[in-house]
Amino acid sequence: MGIFRALLPPRLPAAGGALLHPVMLVSLGVLVVNDHVLKRCWPGVLSGKLSDFAVVVLLPLFLHGLVELAHDKVSRPLSVVASARWLVGCIVLSTLVFALPEVWQPAELAYRYGAAGLRYPFQLLWSLAQGHTTRAFVPVRATADITDLLAVPMALVAWRVGQLPAPAAQASAVSHST
């Protein structure tokens, strides 16, 4: 447990603080390097799974960070309890988005077109910037692989990292992390 705590120090108490947590940044780095370097240079089982592990940590923390920041902007910072509830919601949603396409074909189809729909505006802008007039709407690739579900337990890491420290603990959170 001590090692677990040492590896996963408490997040910053500020809204969206988990976005700057080392685990979040490492996951982001792993995702980028694995997708754009490792998968091309050394395709294999490891590179096939690394991104999954990173996404399961990254996606809920990212969504939760956005929720915290938005709530902080429009009204006031989320309470510890409300933040925890949102974190659970984000983890459940992210896990479903990640896991369902691996085991249920309609979800895979929805994921392929949904992800493509989210990407399309950016791709279209990029195409226009390059002087092209149109851009094909192409669903993203997805290969159902039930062994990808091995990454689901990483959601526990997201839970640990995303939790807002209790007010009493907030004051000592930083000193604990040192």
Binding site: P9, L12, P13, A14, G16, G17, L19, L20, P22, M24, L25, V26, L28, L31, V32, D35, H36, K39, R40, P43, G44, V45, G48, S51, V55, L58, L59, F62, G65, L66, L69, E108, R112, A115, L118, R119, F122, H132, T133, T134, A136, F137, V138, P139, V140, R141, A142, T143, D145, Q170, A171, A173, V174, S177, T178
Partner: protein, 231 residues
């Protein structure tokens, strides 16, 4: 690496603690806000970009389905020319180069073809001296002597585009390219005088294919080619 991250986290933690005790417009809030924006943008890009680059792993069965892409560019202006007694013939050279894979992973040069379309108008000929026919001689790079066609008012000719080079990865190694030459000449060699005007356009078509989990079609899309005309 871990040590450096730990030091960074300590440093940042102290600043964060300080920032909770003072108004948010403190100098610390600025860099942290910018860092958060940077992380949000980078994470958005990483998450949106993660699916496309996933190659099918070696242990997954080969898909029996495909997405078929069609590529088309119509009305490429090749040029206009007046064929006269002084200049009764000309030759257009058209170079085609595939610059990249479509959407990063689809070869766009399969079954490629080009269709030349010419509108011919004659002027300055008397009633008894009918305008001359034009001879169109179309040849592709490495495809022998080519085809010859005579036309009076309109011309249309389709020809395959035999792309060669590194067409599977056009950005690396030898360019994926081909070229055509279209020679246009007056059959009277200009002896009847007058002017024969030719407006020449070009259409190109091709297909591409990619393994998928279902059969589908995409397109027609503009091919990622550069078409260059020389005369």
């Amino acid at each position: 690496m871990l040590c450096a991250m730990r030091m960074w986290w300590r440093h940042f933690g102290r600043k964060a603690q300080a920032s909770t005790a003072v108004p948010p417009d403190d100098a610390v809030a600025g860099p942290r806000t910018w860092l958060m924006i940077l992380v949000i943008v980078a994470t958005t890009a990483a998450l949106l970009g993660t699916s496309d680059t996933t190659p099918p792993s070696d242990d997954t069965p080969t898909s029996q389905f495909n997405t078929t892409y069609t590529f088309e560019r119509r009305g490429v202006e090749v040029g206009s020319i007046d064929l006269t007694a002084e200049q009764p013939r000309t030759t257009f050279y058209v170079n085609f180069r595939a610059d990249e894979l479509f959407d990063g992973n689809v070869v766009s040069t399969n079954g490629a073809s080009a269709t030349f379309r010419a509108a011919i108008t004659a002027a300055g000929f008397s009633d008894k001296d009918a305008p001359p026919y034009l001879m169109f001689k179309l040849s592709a790079e490495g495809m022998g002597s080519g085809t010859q066609t005579q036309a009076l008012e309109q011309y249309s000719q389709i020809t395959p585009l035999p792309f060669s080079g590194n067409c599977m990865a056009p950005t690396e190694g030898e360019a994926c390219s081909t070229s055509l030459a279209l020679e246009i000449s007056r059959t009277d060699d200009g002896s009847k005088g007058g002017t024969v005007h030719v407006d020449l356009l070009l259409d190109v078509n091709a297909t591409g294919m990619e393994p998928d989990v279902e059969n589908s079609t995409v397109g027609p899309e503009d091919p990622p080619w550069t078409i260059e005309v020389l005369q």
